[in-house]
Amino acid sequence: MALPDRIDPRPPRRIYRWDLDKTYLQTDFDTLAQLVRTALQKASEKQAVPGAAALIRELRAQGDSQLCIISGSPTQMRAVLEEKLKLDGVEWDELVLKDNVRNLLRGRFRALRGQVGYKLPVLLESRAKAPVDSEEVLFGDDAEADAFIYSLYADLVAGRVDEAVLGRVLTAAQVYPDDRERIITAWRAVPRSDPVRRIFIHLDRLTPPARFGRYGPRVVPIFNYFQAALVLLADGQLNPGQVARVAVEMVQTAGHNLLTLSNSFQDLLRRGLPVQAVAAPLFQALEGAIQGREGVLQALRPLPDIVAAFTRRVAALGTTPPPPEAREIDYLSVLDDARPRTSKHRKAEER
């Protein structure tokens, strides 16, 4: 029997989809001046959200995974963004950027800021190429419509949303006819499965977490990536040592400390997320690491202080609330979330 002339990589078991601006990168583009500054920044000047690069590296280290990045940044920034990702040690499989010059030349002004008509077809087309049994974890932020788009994508793939609802959503989001066609075509090509395990929304604008309650417990608003790592540990997607490494990056690069980390832990408990059970394995991992098996964790000593801080946060609550109930999303009642955000919207939300 002849040997094959190449060995195909194993199909990914897990797909991680990330947005870039405000999810992976700390970006300000609410004003024209900020937009220009962002466009002119060099790769070395761009700052990743603390812990984001470490989390991606740890997720990728699990193997059999794929990293797909979909960003609203213009295609002209590809070189800078790729350089930044390389500087951070992040390896990606797909990096999709928005061709806004083309939108401009074609007079498609709504598409310049529109998110649904841009991200939804890209997500569905990417899913159509993925193994049916692969699971997905999605990362977005609260600046635009990520919670809405990711949830809709998850429910479309799972067959929980019908074409009539999709049609009304696309109309409300003012999606152009050709993008609408792409979405419907891609959706029909995607084999039905229920792959999306979690949708993390980085609260860049500190949007009150309750505003995401209508998307059910699959959507987890997070204030930082230590929180995402803790939930992924509880979900069995990371091990305790990997969570500790995310924490260490945040301590070393962004001034996080025991207080911010233990507060973040308690915040998840208060929102009914199942992280209490992972505290003990996390402490064991930290203990092992501090005793020298992993030198990288030296920043988090002394261990008794860490254990005491986390234990106090648990005890302070008395009883922890039950996990939030799963619910079906009524997309027609949240259509407003699908529309592009204006600065007026954002200011109103911040009040």
């Binding site: 500190l206 001034g255 400390n257 025991l258 507060n263 308690q266 915040d267 208060r270 920043a299 609330p321």
Partner: protein, 340 residues
């Protein structure tokens, strides 16, 4: 590991507007003041419900469950006797144990004073605590150039001795120096005449002691009329007199507003006149708005306790948190010790 931020324990329960307003104030602090952590003490369920609906930074907020609280109408000693885990007491214990650095409470004032007395230690040299408050005057004070003066005591120590009044002067001066950024605050005794011999024996004796005291800018006695004038940056009196003055100032303010409303409603020319003045009146209100100060301290203990007004809204609570943090980072307690 780089440590540690200033942690303010907020007694979330017992204010006039309920827990949500205190939570909103602490939430505001969490994204306005990076060096300050808010420890919310109260009914965890109510706090969580309010937090979930409020813009905040969860990295700088934690919750301590304490479902009991002392209501405004309750007698403090009885209530604290029955409610061992009342939120104000739990908050004070967290400060005493070192888990937090200061308390902010908009709840029952008497319960706040009593919680301090039961949990904290009096600073050596101080026999009785004092409750201080700021009030608007017509004079601008300190490097902040704000119109507020400090008066103490306004209710913690009803029968103050001459030595207590001297201690109040030292504490008030330290507080004005640190919080109002007034390097040399003028300190006066409240009496019924400016002459040194005027007033009850304890005031006369206190005057004599303060006049000889180094390191304090004692300007003598002032009369009631000098309080709103802002003649002194710090005015000292016993708790009985101070409380009467405070309530008088509040009553006069409320009456002026009621009279203006009456005039506004009764005649068109008054309505037009007040409308023309409205911009100036708003500016005056902004300048003298007590909510910008947020709260006033209970002085004399080895820990910081800021008592916010029971009617405080979120902005006042956030500002009370900032005042508390400033008192901690500037080591107000040490400054008082040094002044004694």
């Amino acid at each position: 590991m780089p440590e540690r931020a200033t942690t303010i324990a907020f007694d979330v329960m017992g204010s006039d507007h309920g827990p949500a307003e205190i939570v909103r104030g602490a939430a505001q602090l969490s994204f306005e003041s990076p060096g300050v952590h808010a420890l919310l003490v109260g009914d965890a369920q109510q706090i969580d419900a309010a937090l979930a609906e409020t813009r905040h930074n969860a990295e700088r907020i934690s919750v301590q469950n304490a479902p009991e609280f002392v209501a405004m109408h309750e007698k403090p000693s009885e209530a604290l006797g029955l409610k061992k885990d009342a939120s104000v007491l739990v908050a004070a214990r967290l400060v005493a144990s070192g888990e937090a650095d200061a308390v902010v409470s908009a709840g029952n004032t008497g319960a706040g004073v009593l919680a301090c007395a039961r949990t904290f230690q009096l600073i050596p040299g101080i026999r009785r605590a004092a409750l201080a408050t700021v009030y608007p005057t017509r004079t601008w004070h300190g490097t902040k150039q704000d119109p507020f003066s400090l008066i103490l005591d306004v209710g913690a120590t009803v029968d103050a001795t001459a030595d207590d009044l001297v201690a109040f002067a030292v504490m008030g001066s330290a507080y004005a120096r640190i919080i109002s950024r007034n390097p040399h605050p003028s300190v006066a005794l409240l009496s019924n005449g400016t002459e040194a011999q005027k007033g009850p024996p304890r005031v006369v004796e206190a005057h004599a002691k303060l006049a000889q005291r180094q390191g304090l800018r004692f300007v003598g006695n002032v009369e009631g009329v000098d309080i709103p004038k802002g003649t002194a940056d710090v005015i000292c009196c016993d708790g009985f007199v101070g409380n009467v003055c405070l309530k008088l100032l509040e009553g006069v303010g409320e009456t002026v507003v009621e009279l203006a409303n009456y005039a506004y409603a009764s005649a068109l020319r008054w309505k037009i006149g007040l409308a023309m003045l409205s911009n100036g009146l708003k500016q005056l209100k902004d300048v003298t708005d007590w909510q910008q100060y947020g709260g006033a301290p209970i002085l004399g203990f080895d820990r910081v306790f800021i008592k916010a007004h029971g009617r405080s809204k979120a902005r006042a609570i956030a500002n009370a948190g900032k005042v508390a943090a400033k008192a901690v980072t500037s080591d107000l307690v040490h400054a008082i010790r040094e002044g004694l």
